[in-house]
Structures are given as C-alpha cells and as structure tokens.
Point group: C2
DNA sequence: ATTTCTCAGGACAATTTGTATAGTGATCTA
DNA sequence: TAGATCACTATACAAATTGTCCTGAGAAAT
C-alpha cells in the first residue's frame, strides 16, 4: 500500500490509549498498574505493555518527585539572559551548572546567548546568586528579570488531550 | 542504640534525612516505601512519616510522569517574551493558556511582561504557534528565541545535595 | 492463507502496602 | 527536675499489588 500516512501505527508515537493512560497518571501519579487498567477499562497486561513501550520509546522517562521550591524556602524565581564570550559556551555552562540555584540553562538563538532559570530565598539571596553567575568566567553581560507570578505552570496536559481527542487521522 | 544527634526543628523545612529520601526518589522514583527504608537504613514507618510530612508541608507535591516532548514529536522548544497592553494580563494569560503548545507562562519584571515557553513539531509548526500567540487579544509585541540546546536540564538535585551535605545548624 | 501483533482474561507466588501497637531515648515545658 | 511530647525502631497481619507466564481472539501485514 503506497501511503504517506499509515493506518494506525508507524508515525503515531502516542495513540489515544497511551494519551489516556498518561493523562490518568498525570492526574493521579501514584496509581498502580492494576488501578490504571480498571480506570481505563482494559486488561492489566495491556497497561503494563503500554507503559513499557512508552518507556522504551523514551516518551515516558520516569516519575520524578515534584518538589515545590517555594515550600522549601526558595520563594524567588528569576530568569537571566546571559551574554557570553564567543565560543565559550561549554565553559560557561559548566560554571553555571556548578551553582545549585541554577535550575535550568538553555542555549538560544539571538546572539549565542544563554537563558537561565534561577531560584533564591530572597532578594538579597538572589543578589548573591546573580553575583555568582557574573563571576563565571566569560560571562559578559547579565540581564535578570524576576518572576512575579506564574499564570501557567509547567504543563503537558493540553498536548496529551489533543492526542486523546483526535485519534490518529 | 539509635545514633541520634539531631536537635533543630524550627526553621529547617527539609532536614538531612528528608533530603536523602528525596534524592533517592529523584534517582529512582519508582522505589516503594519499603525499599527506601532499606536504602536509607531507617525503619519503614519513618520513611512513611517523612513522606507524609513532606506532602503535608507542600514540599512534595507528587510524582507526575515525566514526558519527553522531543520523543513525542515536539522537538522544538522556544521562549517568547511577550509585551501586552497594560492591565490586560489576565485576559492574555487566558488566551495563552488555551494554546496547547504553550507549556509555561510567567509574569516578569522588566521590559517584556510575560515570559512564555512553547514547543512545536518543526519550524513551520512554530510559526503557526507564534501566529496563534500574536493573535491573542492585547498582545502587543512578541520576541521569540529558539532553544538550540539545553546544557542544564531542569533540576533540583544540587539544592537537595546542599541540604544533605550541610546538616541544620 | 499464514504469520505477526496487540489485547483481554486468568492464574500464582512473592512482595508491598496500609495500619496498628509497644518500647526507647531525647527534647520541651511547666 | 518531673512529666509530657516527639521521632524513630521494631513487629505484626490482612489485603492488595506486582511480576510473570499462558491461552485465545481479532486485525493487519505478507
């Protein structure tokens, strides 16, 4: 069959059942395989197989504990755009990675810049962290902005819901 | 016979044992309470109590499934700084939240008003998503930069390790 | 027509969880 | 200083879950 779009498999990484399963686990992550099978109305072996496959494909990478940094005392989140010396990205990233308060670093288009998410206990603590970043060799310029609120917290749900709603075409 | 030495409880939200437990769960999230107690060398009841308390305090919010968006077909991540009309943040955020590809929104200090993380399947798909964002009422200006790489993926580990290393004092 | 997959359904032993209870040392309080 | 508390260890037991392995049916691919 000549076809750029298969019947049900091949190009669909996550099908409807997968999406429903992931959605279920998103809402109640502690559910066991057995309970999932009950909720989804399928056999336990099926759920088990689905999970295994998702892990195999690298879609599902695990169930890490979600920690609320705010509750841990790090009430401040800030984003920093870092300009660095040309060709020094690796070193700078290493330097940034050594700072515990640096929770995430991305290299972005623009001007070979880095985008950094940091947390801190207070404004003065943020000052300290920012100073640390500036002290990293080859960091040229740093522009920081503080997160005042987070209207949309990190989420994946809508993407899954779309898969669930629109089965493979 | 227990070798206790602890004495502080007041301002320490997460003590060393908590940190070790969370670190353990970070590395192997699927471990059960029993296994954790074995690894940590404490009684099962203790682990259970610690987990309960961490949840109670809001530090541990759950074990959501970690999904690799890349493996799901969303290989592109981009950050957008959005400038909006004064006093329209709520509406704009609602509009953004309605777009599945919008995975995170923060209101920030500084020039841009909102900071948005989006994912897309390809460059042209990103175009589509960006167009969607621009179409949200009251969005004035949008500046997007694509994430080329992620030298430091989202992490909390270092923060926990510091607690573990430096017991309350 | 035949092979290959996926999924439902069931079975079983071993392990884990949910709950309790009791004892001990240390800290807090009046 | 004498309780009262608190955190943790150590156990105990029933109920539920997990890890596996099998069988059979239906759909898709060859």
């Amino acid at each position: 069959m000549p076809s750029d779009q298969q019947s049900e498999h091949s190009d669909q990484v996550v099908d409807e059942l997968d999406a429903r399963l992931l959605l279920l686990l998103t809402d109640e992550p502690r559910l066991g395989v057995l309970e999932c099978s009950r909720r989804l109305g399928v056999a336990r072996g099926t759920v088990q197989a689905r999970l295994d496959r998702l892990v195999e494909r690298g879609v599902l990478t695990g169930f890490p504990p979600a920690l609320d940094l705010g509750a841990m005392g790090f009430g401040l989140t800030a984003f920093a755009v870092v300009e660095i010396a040309q060709g020094r990205r690796a070193e700078v990233c290493d330097g940034l990675a050594a700072i515990p308060e640096v929770c995430e670093v991305h290299a972005t288009t623009g001007q070979g810049d880095l985008f950094v998410r940091v947390v801190a206990r207070s404004n003065s603590d943020l000052q300290r962290v920012v100073d640390h970043i500036v002290d990293v060799p080859h960091v040229r310029r740093l522009s920081t902005s503080i997160a005042l609120s987070t209207p949309v917290p990190p989420r994946v749900r809508p993407l899954l819901e779309r898969v669930k709603g629109r089965p493979p075409k």
